[in-house]
C-alpha cells in the first residue's frame, strides 16, 4: 500500500546540525542541539528555584503541579514521536499504555491508602491468668494489676482462703491510665463480693458487659490501665485469691493488598468479621501493594502488551492508515472494558482515594511534597529524552528512519522490519506507561477512564504534530505548549478551549506540516519556559488584573496578554538570534564573516 505521507515525513531528521565552535573552549566542538539540551536540563531541574520571591505558596504549588503534569505529558509525546515521527507508524492507541501505567500506580496508591485507613485487625491470643493474692489489712484501695498490653478480661474468680468478718464487701474497678484518680474508677462487675467463707468457696464474678459502653470496661487497652481492688468496711479481711483470666488482643495493622481499596468496597469491609469475603479483584491487584512491584508493572506491562500487540500486527503486515485505525479500535476496546468493569477498575469514576507514593525513602505527593514530584518527573523526562536520543542515533534508529522512508527497500536489504517495528512499539509502550505513572502522581492522585478515551490519544498525537514530528525536542515542546496554552485559555474561557484546540489542529496541519521546531529553532523549549516564567512574574505583579480592569468585562487579561506570551515565547530565542545577527551585520567597523557564529542551526 503506498503511503505518500511517509515520504514527506521522513525529510527532516536526516539533516545534520552543524557543529558549533564555542569561543572559550578552543578546539572542542559542541553540537548546538547538545548545548541547548544541556541548558534545558539545568533549567528543568532549577524550575522550583525560579519563582518570583514572595509568591504565595498556593499559587507556586499550582504552577509546580502544572510543570509536573506537562512534563509527564512530554514523556508521552516522546513515545508518540518515536513511533510516529521516526518510524512512520501513527498510533492512535498510546493512551492504552499510558492508562496501564497510570492504573498500576493508582492501584498501588489506593491499596496503601486503604491499608492506612482500615481499622487494625484483632486476633485473640492464648488466655493468660493473673493470680492476685491478698491477705490481711492491706491499704485500700490496692492496685492489683497494671496493664502491659492489650487485654480483654474474660472472667474473674474469687476463692476464699480465710474467711473475713461478715459485712465486708470487695469491689473490683478499672482505672484508665489517662486519669489515675481513684474517684473516677468504675466497677467492672455487677454483684458485690461476699468475703465471708466458707473457706475454699469459689465464687465467679458476674462481669459487666451487656451493653456497648460497658464492654469498654472489660478492655485493658492503654498501657498503664489499672485494676483496683477495694474492700470496704472494718474488720478482718481474711485471705483470698482472685484469678483474672485475660485474653490478649493482638492488633494487626493491615498491610497494603489485604484491604480492598475504596472503589471496591461495595461489599462492606470489616476486618474482624469472620464471614468477610474479599472482593474478587483484590487478589488480582494485591501484589501491587508493593511500590517496587507497582513501578515495575507500570513499565513492563505496557511494554509487554505493546510488544505482543505489535508483534502480531506488524508480522501480519498491517500498516499506515490501517495501523492507525486498528490501534484506535484497540483503545476503544480497552476503554469500554475498563469503563464497564467497575469492580476491577472503578469504572467511570475511576480511582480517587490514594496515598502518596513512597519510594527510596522519599514520599512523592502532589499536595505536600510537590517539589520532589517535580524533580522526579523532570529527571524521568530528561532521562527518557536522552535514551530516545541515543536510540535514534544508533543503528537501530537509522533502520527505523529507513522503514519510515521506504519499508520495502529495508526488507529487500534483509532486515526483518516487523521485528524492528515491534521493538520500537514496545519501547514506546514502556515510555507511555512511565508517563502515565508519573501523571497520576502529579495529578492530585486521580486516575480515571479519561486517559483511555479516544480524544486523549489523538491529543497526544497533535502535541507531536505541533511541536514537530521526527524531532524529540519538538515532541516535548508540543506537550508543554499545548498544556500551558490549555491551562491559560480554559482558566479564562473554559467553553472555548475545544474550539481553540480544533483550530490549532487545523492550522498546524495546514500551515506547519513539519511543526514548530523547524520554524522556531532548537531554542524553542527554552523560549517556552521563559515565556511561562514571564507570565508567572506578570501574575505575581498583578499585571493581568490591571489589564482586566482596563478592558472591563471578565478575565480577558489572561487571554489577550498571557496566551500570546506563552504561544509566541517559543520564538524568543530564534528572534534574539536573528536580532543579534542583524546587529552584527550592521555594526560599523566590525565586519564579521557571516555564518561563522550561528547559535541556531537548521533555520
Amino acid at each position: 500500500m503506498t503511503e505518500p505521507a511517509n515520504k514527506k515525513d521522513g525529510a527532516n531528521h536526516s539533516t545534520r546540525s552543524p557543529a558549533l565552535a564555542l569561543p572559550f573552549l578552543g578546539n572542542v566542538k559542541v553540537k548546538p542541539g547538545v548545548l541547548v539540551a544541556g541548558f534545558s536540563v539545568v533549567l528543568l531541574l532549577a524550575i522550583p528555584q525560579l519563582f518570583p520571591p514572595g509568591i504565595d505558596a498556593k499559587s507556586k504549588q499550582n504552577w509546580l503541579d502544572l510543570f509536573a503534569k506537562f512534563m509527564a505529558m512530554g514523556i508521552l509525546a516522546l513515545s508518540v514521536d518515536l513511533v510516529w515521527g521516526y518510524t512512520g507508524l501513527l498510533s492512535l492507541g498510546q493512551g492504552v499504555f499510558f492508562g496501564i501505567g497510570a492504573y498500576m500506580i493508582a492501584y498501588c496508591l489506593t491499596l496503601h491508602k486503604a491499608a492506612q485507613d482500615a481499622r487494625p485487625k484483632m486476633t485473640e491470643g492464648e488466655p493468660t491468668t493473673v493470680v492476685l493474692h491478698y491477705q490481711g489489712n492491706f491499704p485500700s484501695p490496692k492496685t492489683v494489676f497494671i496493664n502491659d498490653g492489650k487485654y480483654r478480661i474474660d472472667s474473674i474468680q474469687f476463692r476464699v482462703l480465710k474467711a473475713s468478718t461478715p459485712g465486708l464487701t470487695a469491689v473490683l474497678t478499672k482505672l484508665p491510665a489517662a486519669s489515675l484518680d481513684p474517684d473516677t474508677a468504675e466497677q467492672i462487675h455487677n454483684d458485690t463480693l461476699d468475703l465471708t467463707g466458707p473457706v475454699g468457696k469459689v465464687q465467679p464474678m458476674v462481669l459487666k458487659g451487656e451493653i456497648a459502653e460497658e464492654k469498654i470496661l472489660r478492655r485493658l487497652e492503654e498501657e498503664g490501665d489499672r485494676l483496683y481492688l477495694e474492700v470496704t468496711g472494718n474488720g478482718d479481711r481474711g485471705e483470698g485469691e482472685f484469678t483474672v483470666v485475660l485474653i490478649p488482643e493482638i492488633e494487626e495493622y493491615m498491610r497494603p493488598g489485604e484491604v480492598p481499596p475504596q472503589f471496591m468496597q461495595y461489599t462492606g469491609f470489616a476486618p474482624n468479621d469472620p464471614n468477610y469475603v474479599p472482593p474478587p479483584g483484590l487478589a488480582l491487584i494485591a501484589p501491587l501493594g508493593n511500590a517496587g512491584v507497582a513501578v515495575a508493572a507500570s513499565l513492563i506491562l505496557p511494554a509487554l502488551i505493546a510488544g505482543l500487540f505489535g508483534g502480531v500486527i506488524f508480522r501480519l503486515g498491517v500498516k499506515g492508515v490501517y495501523f492507525a485505525l486498528v490501534t484506535q479500535a484497540f483503545l476503544m476496546v480497552v476503554f469500554l472494558a475498563v469503563r464497564n468493569q467497575q469492580r476491577f477498575t472503578g469504572g467511570v469514576v475511576g480511582i480517587k482515594d490514594m496515598s502518596s507514593l513512597e519510594l527510596f525513602g522519599q514520599s512523592f505527593d502532589s499536595a505536600e511534597n510537590v517539589r520532589a514530584t517535580v524533580y522526579l518527573v523532570a529527571a524521568a523526562l530528561v532521562g527518557s529524552y536522552f535514551i530516545c536520543a541515543l536510540l535514534i542515533r544508533s543503528k537501530f534508529g537509522r533502520i527505523l528512519s529507513a522503514i519510515q522512508d521506504n519499508e520495502n527497500r529495508v526488507l529487500a536489504l534483509g532486515y526483518t522490519t516487523a521485528l524492528y517495528k515491534t521493538a520500537v512499539f514496545a519501547f514506546a509502550g514502556l515510555l507511555a506507561g512511565l508517563a502515565g505513572a508519573l501523571y497520576v502522581l502529579a495529578n492530585h492522585p486521580v486516575c480515571d477512564t479519561v486517559y483511555l478515551s479516544v480524544p486523549f490519544s489523538i491529543e497526544a498525537v497533535i502535541w507531536v504534530a505541533i511541536g514537530g514530528r521526527g524531532n524529540l525536542f519538538g515532541a516535548v515542546l508540543g506537550a508543554l505548549l499545548v498544556g500551558f496554552g490549555q491551562y491559560y485559555v480554559s482558566s479564562a474561557l473554559p467553553e472555548f478551549w475545544p474550539i481553540a484546540l480544533g483550530l490549532l489542529f487545523i492550522a498546524t496541519v495546514l500551515f506547519l506540516p513539519r511543526g514548530l521546531t523547524p520554524v522556531a529553532g532548537p531554542g524553542a523549549l527554552l523560549g517556552l519556559l521563559l515565556g511561562v516564567f514571564l507570565v508567572i512574574y506578570l501574575e505575581k505583579y498583578n499585571l493581568f488584573d490591571a489589564v482586566d480592569q482596563y478592558l472591563g468585562v471578565g478575565r480577558r487579561g489572561r487571554v489577550f496578554v498571557g496566551c500570546p506570551i506563552i504561544l509566541l515565547s517559543v520564538f524568543i530565542p530564534k528572534g534574539l538570534t536573528m536580532l543579534f545577527k542583524a546587529l552584527m551585520r550592521f555594526s560599523p567597523g566590525r565586519a564579521m564573516p557571516t555564518g561563522s557564529v550561528s547559535p541556531v542551526p537548521g533555520s
Partner: protein, 341 residues
Amino acid sequence: MTGLLEALFNGLSLSSILILAALGLGVTFGVMRVINMAHGEMMMLGAYLGYVCTNPYGLSVFVSGLASLARETAKIFGIHWEPSWQTSIELHWNLYLVLPVVFVVVGLAGYILEKGLIRFLYGRPLDTLLATWGVGLILQQVIQLIFSGNPKGVGIPENLTGQWTYADSRFPYYRLFIIAFTILCLVLVYVGFFYTSLGLKIRAVTQNRPMASAMGIPTSQVDGLTFAFGTGLAGVAGCILGGMYNVGPNMGQDFIVEAFMVVILGGMGQLKGVVAGGLMVGVSRGIAEKFYANALIPNLFPKYIEEVFSPIARITVLALVIGFIMVRPSGLVRTKERVYD
C-alpha cells in the same frame, strides 16, 4: 428461539445504521483516501437538524441558542451585545420530508469542508485525520454551546411508533423502517454509482485521476461532490439514529470507531464490502448481546440486560473485528490492485 429471532432483528437494525454511517465513510475513506474523523460529527449534525425540523420547539431552541452563542462570542472581545433573536415558527415536519433536507444540508456542509480544508490535504491521509478531528472538536463544541448538552430526540411519525408482534417476538416499526430505508439507500447509491454520469465520473476519478482529468472531467468538482455525497449519507444516518437514541453533541464519537472498522472489515472502496462488514458487525453484536444475557445471568436482572451486556457484546465484537483485520488486512471483499512503492 423467539429470543434469537429478536436478537437477529435487533442486530439487523443496528447493521442498517452502521451500513448507512459506513457507506459515506466508505466513499470518503475507501475511495478518496481521506480519513474523515468529522464523519461522526456529520451524523451528529444530521441528528440535530432532524431535531430542529421535527420537534415543534426545535427551531426556537436553535435560534435562541444561536443568540446566546453570539452573545458569548461577543463577550470575549469585550463587546456588549444582546441579540434578541427569537422565533415562534413551529416546523414540526414529518421525518420522511426531513430526511432529504438533511441529506442536502449536511451534504452542503461536507462540500464546504472539502473545498475549505480537505482539498489541501490530498495524499496525506494521516494529516486529514488530525485536521478533520479538529473540525469535529469545533463542531461538537459549537453544537454544545448552541443546544446546551441536554439530550434531544428526533420526532418520529405516528405510524412508526408501534410494533409488530409475531410469535412472541417484537419488531418495532421504526426499526423495520430503518432496515427498509437502508435498503432503499443502497439501491439509490448503486444506481447512482453505476447508472448515472456523475457516478461514472466519480469512478473514473478514483481509478485514475490524471487520466480522468485528461478526458475533461472536472476532478476537483467531482471530489467535492463525492465528499458531499458521503457526508450527506452520514447526516441521514445520524438523523435516523436520533429517532432511537439520545441526540447529544458527542453522539458521533460513539459511532466513528465502529464505522471505520466496518469499512476496513468490508474492504476498501467496495459497496458490497461495506454491506458485508456492516451486517457482520451488527448481527454478531445482536447475537452476542443475547448470548451473554442468556448464558451469564438468565432472568436475574432482566431490566438491566441492555445496559450491562451491551458494552460487553460491543467489546467482544470489536475485538473479533480487530483480530480479523490483523489476519486479513484487505478485508472481506478484496480489491484487486497492483501497487508497489
